[in-house]
């Protein structure tokens, strides 16, 4: 079943077509990687899928509903969450507070003025579960600003998971991590496979080919090839356009 369908999506900045008639299908349950050289328009695509940026034309359908003009908050509530390439957290809040705020977003009204939120066990318990899932249980009380880069990447993921997404958009989750941290995050994504549908943008080819069920190759705002990892590895057009000698 197709969970996310993108049809003929277009976005231009002046004469530069960053997304140029892009179509894409993501099936429920799969981990769909999108690769492409720098400037191919990967982050712009994620921004349009998440609602941060409005496309010029084309459509985005999520679970059978057209969400092309829906705002970010509604998309999140419909089950479409994202992580950011550039870490976007609440620096002054602890790891637990960062995640609990995401849990709060989908559990009841936030127009509550009296009861201390720090004492809400339901929020904290669910937040702790997400933190444990990414391996940050022992960092719960640390302010996000005081965490290492790798820990922040893990926290990004915990916050996205706390939204209980059906589709998770991951914008370079491994960006800037060391080999050990990357290994840990790859294991985590591996564990999430099957539980949640994922669209993964990533430059780390080893990770992409190890994790992805399907890979789409984005070049100059268009999908030039789409298929299983083996298929993509063998595709001559892909090798010419992107992989070069590196994958041979």
């Amino acid at each position: 079943m197709t969970l996310l369908a993108v049809r003929d999506l277009r976005k231009s900045y002046g004469a530069l077509a960053v997304t140029d008639g892009l179509s894409l299908d993501v099936a429920e349950g799969e981990l769909h990687a999108i690769i492409g050289p720098n400037g191919a328009g990967k982050t712009t695509l994620i921004a349009q899928l998440s609602g941060q940026l409005a496309p010029d034309s084309g459509s985005v359908t999520f679970d059978g509903t057209d969400i092309t003009r829906t705002d970010m908050a509604s998309r999140v509530r419909a089950g479409l969450a994202r992580s950011f390439q550039i870490t976007t957290l609440m620096p002054a809040m602890t790891a637990l507070e960062n995640v609990a705020l995401a849990v709060q977003g989908r559990s009841g009204s936030s127009f509550r003025f009296w009861r201390p939120v720090a004492a809400e066990a339901a929020l904290n318990d669910q937040a702790m579960t997400c933190l444990a899932q990414v391996g940050l249980a022992d960092r719960a009380d640390r302010p996000a600003a005081a965490m290492s880069h790798g820990e922040k990447r893990q926290l990004e993921l915990a916050v996205a998971l706390a939204c209980r997404p059906r589709l998770l958009l991951l914008d370079e989750p491994l960006a800037g991590t060391g080999p050990q941290e990357a290994e840990r995050l790859v294991a985590l994504l591996e564990a999430l496979k099957g539980q949640v549908t994922m669209v993964l943008i990533e430059h780390d080819m080893a990770a992409v080919f190890a994790l992805a069920d399907r890979i789409s190759v984005l070049v100059y705002g268009q999908i030039v090839a789409s298929g299983g990892p083996e298929e993509i590895r063998q595709d001559p057009a892909v090798r010419a356009a992107y992989l070069g000698e590196e994958a041979c």
Partner: protein
């Protein structure tokens, strides 16, 4: 209890001790100064809600002080002298003004927000300047202070002071609950990262607007008390320099901590009295003190206190 509520409660107790101390040394003017401190502490607390927790630098907050003050004058002229009714009217007027001005200004960020709130503040200022029925530019004197249950209890400076102190304690207590509740966490989130808030399913505008309206209402209550303290109402209460003074109080005390807002108001009013009695060029001296605090302790006096406490423990 962490250090911040302790500091706030210490300040409240300190203020409560002023009238007996003033009686003991025979200087009733101390109570008047303490009243002024408490009134501005309420105004500073209200501004801290949006500026400190929501990162919304309102440069027109004095408009709400003025709205509250004029609510007293308008109500009194129409025979409504009860303090609580006047506070209700003031809060209602402030809520309307904040809802309209907030709905416009909160669509902008940064310097644009500062300028639009300033513009709305000036609109309110010039409206009351041209209101000749209430003295226009000169303002108007109140016939008497507001009444409580039909009685003129507040004519007594000490009784009035404790009334103001009770309002301050309520404002502090209520805001302390609010910033630690769900709403406060969301507001803090919008300060920390608007994009992240959207990405976890929030629409920041509605929370900002709610905080903006609430903040205006609390500040209007401070305005009601200010008019009663001076027994005079004038557009000068809502001059843009007054809005600046409120921001200075927060900078001095520490932005984003309620205890800091209170401390900042107390110290600013105190220094004003002290330095003004010493030299007519007191603003120069006050400026240097502010500069020193901002340079050496960007987190204001509360930051300084926290550092001293941490240093003592080492």
């Amino acid at each position: 209890m962490s250090a911040a509520p302790k500091a706030a409660i210490a300040l409240l107790i300190l203020l409560a001790l002023v009238p007996p101390a003033a009686a003991a040394i025979g200087d009733p003017f101390l109570t008047v100064i303490a009243t002024r401190m408490a009134v501005f502490a309420i105004a500073a607390l209200s501004l801290d809600l949006i500026l400190g927790y929501g990162a919304l630098v309102s440069f027109g907050h004095a408009a709400y002080l003025g709205l509250g003050a004029y609510a007293v004058a308008v109500c009194a002229r129409h025979g409504i002298t009860d303090l609580f009714l006047q506070m209700g009217a003031a809060a209602l007027a402030a809520a309307l003004f904040a809802a309209v001005s907030g709905a416009v200004s909160l669509r902008t960020r940064g310097i644009y927000f500062i300028m639009i709130t300033l513009a709305f503040g000036q609109m309110a200022y010039f409206f009351f300047v041209s209101l000749s029925a209430y003295g226009g530019d000169d303002g108007t004197a109140l016939a008497a202070r507001s009444t409580l249950f039909g009685r003129a209890w507040l004519e007594n400076d000490t009784a009035f002071f404790y009334m103001v102190l009770a309002c301050l304690a309520l404002a502090y207590g209520g805001l302390d609950r609010l910033v630690h509740a769900r709403f406060g966490r969301v507001l803090t989130g919008t300060r920390e990262s608007e994009l992240r808030m959207r990405a976890i399913g929030y629409r920041p505008f509605r929370y900002r607007l709610a905080a903006y309206v609430l903040s205006g209402m609390i500040c209007a209550v401070a305005g009601v008390l200010l008019a009663n303290q001076t027994e005079y109402v004038s557009p000068a209460y809502m001059a843009w320099t007054r809005s600046g003074e409120l921001i200075v109080m927060l900078l001095l005390g520490g932005v984003g901590t309620l205890a800091g807002a209170m401390a900042g108001a107390l110290v600013t009013v105190g220094l004003e009295e002290l330095l003004a009695g010493w030299s007519e060029h007191w603003r120069l001296c006050f400026g240097l003190i502010l500069l020193a605090v901002v340079l050496w302790s960007p987190a204001g006096l509360t930051g300084l206190l926290r550092r001293l406490l941490a240093g003592g423990r080492r």
